[in-house]
């Protein structure tokens, strides 16, 4: 199979997966127990049974799930319309867009830092195996990887706000809402610092550990010995022969992690009251807000599928053997 056929097959498979996801997406939330109307209105409000029925009709819940609701929803999606959220009464696409930027900002910076620091640390640790650097980095990474997210977040929040005056809530100060971005950058950076730090520490360990074991495996290969025998410097061996092969597992990991970026970092967002997609998913689920849930799930699924597709493309570049399998 040549390279083009391989890529076309991957794209085709991704499209089929998205179609399957669309069907599951529709069904999944409708099998949950409970009444969406009740979830939206809560338990402490005076809404008569008649008014509830009127809302049920307005949301199309009085019709059978299949075929009516299913084809109505599918028809809407085909036109690029994700519908209106029942609990927020805003278009789903608008709600998702408003959170997507925040999430990408937090997770983007956090992941980038974690990747750079983790990969470098893993590389150094593997190269300088059994030195103080290796043991130190390994210990730190194991601890960082196993810390519960929520706990680390709250500890950093308490310490950061008490000793360094970092803000405890949100993405910008309320007074700065709606001001031009350039004037609020320092405020934004201050608010981003603690959540980003939490995210970086949490993922750094994972990247470091994978990178370290991967480079150790590669360094024991015969071709590395050959390269050394040819008289290449350690640096040349590492850079030209070891790194490229050692990167394969990391690429997979990065692709998976980035794919899940849009699911947000729900714990971090919750601790720091950060307005991102993770929290939105949670709210949508507790409110049984079908249009919002479906939209969010679709966005998540498509992102994961696209990220995996990107990883497949990268494999082809990194590893010539891939196209032959």
């Amino acid at each position: 199979m040549n390279r083009r056929d391989f890529l076309l097959r991957k794209i085709g498979l991704s499209l089929v997966t998205i179609l399957v996801v669309v069907v599951i997406d529709f069904m999944l939330f409708r099998v949950l127990p409970g009444d969406p109307i009740r979830s939206v209105i809560g338990r402490n409000v005076r809404i008569s049974a008649d008014t509830q029925q009127a809302l049920r009709e307005q949301f199309g819940l009085d019709k059978p799930v299949f075929p009516d609701q299913f084809f109505d929803t599918l028809g809407q999606w085909a036109q690029g319309n994700l519908g209106v959220s029942w609990s927020l009464r805003r278009p789903v696409s608008e709600v998702l867009r408003s959170k997507l930027g925040n999430t990408i900002l937090l997770i983007g910076i956090g992941q980038l830092l974690a990747i750079i620091l983790g990969v470098t640390l893993g590389l150094l640790a593997g190269w300088k195996r059994k030195t103080a650097l290796d043991i130190g980095a390994l210990t730190f990474s194991l601890v960082a990887w196993s810390i519960p997210t929520f706990w680390l977040g709250i500890i950093l929040l308490a310490a950061g706000s008490t000793w360094f005056g970092f803000p405890t809530v949100g993405i910008i100060s309320p007074q700065n809402t709606g001001k031009p971005l350039i004037t609020i950058l320092p405020d934004l950076a201050k608010h981003l610092f603690l959540p980003t730090l939490t995210l970086t520490i949490l993922y750094l360990g994972e990247y470091m550990l994978i990178m370290r074991s991967s480079i150790l495996e590669v360094l024991s290969e015969d071709y590395i010995l050959t390269a050394k025998a040819k008289g290449m410097s350690d640096w040349q061996v590492l850079w030209k022969h070891a790194l490229k092969n050692a990167m394969l597992p990391i690429v997979t990991l990065i692709a998976i992690n980035l794919g899940f970026t849009v699911s947000g970092a729900i714990y971090i967002e919750t601790v720091f009251s950060y307005d991102g997609l993770g929290k939105l998913f949670q709210t949508a689920l507790t409110k049984q807000d079908y249009p919002l849930l479906q939209g969010a799930f679709l966005l998540l699924a498509v992102s994961v599928i696209l990220a995996n597709l990107a990883a497949d493309f990268l494999y082809v570049v990194l590893d010539p053997r891939v196209k032959e399998t």
């Binding site: 402490n44 005076r46 008569s48 009464r89 959170k99 405890t168 601790v271």
Partner: protein, 542 residues
């Protein structure tokens, strides 16, 4: 010469500085309030969460309002009266009321608002209940509003305290209920003590400015910021470090910690929120598919359950003393104590008595210690919502007490949606631990136990059916005479207390806190220190 010039310069600098000092405006006083929720919308036609109503009560005015002592006083209304037959209510408005965009406020605008709700009850989903039974609303002159009703309405003052006067031009021209409900009302104009400045729908941050023209006098605070926290630990930390000035609700688990903070005052106020044990009361001859243990229909079993419930322990251990033992579905704190029936004497915690009652009723311990009588066996599912750890703790304690009386309760955590599906109109349970946040008027919580409400989408979870109670409920709705209504409501509480569809366990205190180094003057009441009256009274510490 040079020296003179120098002195002249120094003098000028001093003068300029001094003038700057005089002309400098006093720093604006901003109160930052932290809470766990956020408004779902600022459109009063379709707002479901309590936070929206907190904001409405600050930016909008109503004809009447509930005062901190539980009584109703005039807000827009200077005075009001009702005709002899209880069908015509006449309100005289205060003078000089203005919309916060500067326009004068008139009686016919108020009449337009209420008529709009009456004409489109489906669209005004969350307010139309308050106009049920209204026949006509007119404004005979610029300062008078007359509401005519189809039948006498007992809780008119309460109802008019929720009928917000929104700016008519903002709500004209909606043709369908859906259009009206999808309207964001992003820049509400009102006549309340505070004016809307901004609402960030994503972060939930609400900023309000003082309405300097407010008819009852301007607030002493210049602006309010409501900030949403998704994590209560972070919220408590924010109060500690001074990021916020007030916590609208302190989690019970953090209350003791908060009382220890420097420069922070924590408040615990009596409230009418209650926790109850729901006993399946669904009549199996009407609903054959209900699955409650038939022994629950026996008054002796219910009495034994009440004797096996140690409310004081629940208050002391589960609520850390931040609650009161419950008796009636209407707590003493509701409406300033006027509606609670003080004659109800609670059934004492007495396991020996519980055993005696069950012995006498013929339930005898089986081989495993669980009492039985013929086919009946005193083994029950005890379900509770998974939302709060409080329920799980109460359930464990109750299972233990029940066991000592020869009854077996099996605690089981359920998600709230499943509980709703299992209760209303169905009756697929034995016992449930749950809670209610009643309205300030007794009508709502009384309605919960009427036969009519036992249907899917209704409010009755216990399936209580008592024609006498149902009739009393209808009677109290039409008794405009407050004292006469009180007597009927007392009787209704007595019926519930004796028939025990609910065993009321505890009234939860309202826990709040604020920075006492920055603010003073908040009024503690069941309305909360963030109520309009409290915020009007509050000021910065000088």
């Amino acid at each position: 010469m040079k020296q003179k010039l120098f002195y002249a310069l120094v003098l000028m600098v001093m003068l300029v500085t001094a003038c700057g000092g005089i002309g400098k405006p006093a720093e604006a006083v901003t109160l930052r309030i932290g809470w766990s929720g956020k408004p779902d919308t600022l459109n009063p036609a379709y707002a479901f969460v309590g936070e929206s109503y907190t904001i409405f009560h600050l930016i909008y005015s109503t004809l009447t309002k509930q005062a901190v002592d539980g009584n109703y006083v005039g807000s827009l209304a200077k005075d009001w009266s009702v005709s002899e037959d209880g069908l015509t209510w006449t309100y005289h408005l205060k003078d000089g009321i203005k919309w916060n965009n500067g326009e004068p406020f008139t009686a016919d605008q108020l009449a337009w608002d209420i008529n709009a709700i009456m004409k489109d009850p489906e669209g005004w989903a969350t307010l139309s209940n308050y106009t049920a039974g209204f026949a006509e609303v007119t404004a005979p002159d610029a300062n008078t509003v007359v509401i005519t009703t189809e039948y006498p309405i007992a809780n008119m003052d309460y109802r008019t305290s929720y009928l917000y006067t929104f700016y008519p031009p903002d709500f004209e021209g909606f043709t369908t209920a859906e259009d009206l409900q999808n309207y964001g009302n992003d820049a509400p104009v009102g006549t309340g003590p505070f004016m809307f400045k901004s609402f960030d729908k994503d972060t939930g941050v609400v900023i309000l400015d003082a309405n300097k023209e407010y008819v009852d006098g301007a607030p002493k605070i210049d602006s309010l910021i409501f900030q949403t926290f998704d994590n209560t630990d972070a919220m408590v930390q924010a109060l500690k470090v001074g990021d916020i000035d007030m916590l609208q609700s302190v989690p019970a688990s953090a209350y003791e910690t908060v009382t220890g903070f420097e420069n922070v005052k924590a408040t615990a106020t009596d409230n009418y929120y209650f926790y109850e044990l729901i006993i399946n009361t669904v009549d199996s001859s009407v609903y054959p598919t209900q699955t409650g243990n038939p022994a629950l229909a026996d008054p002796a079993v219910r009495l034994a359950m009440a004797h096996s419930t140690n409310k004081q322990d629940i208050v002391d251990i589960v609520f850390q003393k931040l609650a009161k033992p419950g008796v009636s579905i209407i707590a003493p704190a509701l409406g300033g104590g006027f509606w609670n029936n003080p004659n109800l004497k609670d059934i004492a915690f007495d396991i020996a008595e519980a055993n005696r009652v069950l012995d006498e009723a013929g339930y005898l311990p089986g081989s495993d210690g669980v009492r039985e009588k013929g086919d009946l066996r005193l083994e029950f599912r005890l379900q509770f919502p998974s939302t709060l750890a409080t329920y799980a703790r109460i359930a464990d304690m109750m299972a233990d007490w029940f066991q000592q009386a020869g009854m077996k309760a099996i605690p089981e955590s359920m998600d709230e949606d499943s509980l709703v599906a299992a209760t209303t109109g169905v009756g697929d349970y034995d016992l449930i631990l749950w809670s209610w946040w009643p309205d300030p008027d007794p009508d709502f919580i009384l309605s919960v136990l009427t036969t009519d409400q036992f249907l899917p989408g209704g409010w009755s979870d216990c399936g209580y059916h008592n024609p006498e109670y149902d009739q009393l409920y209808l009677d109290q709705q039409k008794l405009v005479d407050r004292n006469a209504r009180q007597q009927v409501i007392w009787k209704m509480q007595e019926l519930i207390f004796n028939n025990m569809p609910y065993i009321v366990l505890a009234y939860d205190d309202m826990l709040q806190a604020y920075r006492s180094d920055r603010f003073t003057g908040f009024i503690e009441s069941p309305l909360g220190i963030e109520s309009a009256e409290s915020l009007l009274n509050a000021e910065a510490v000088k």
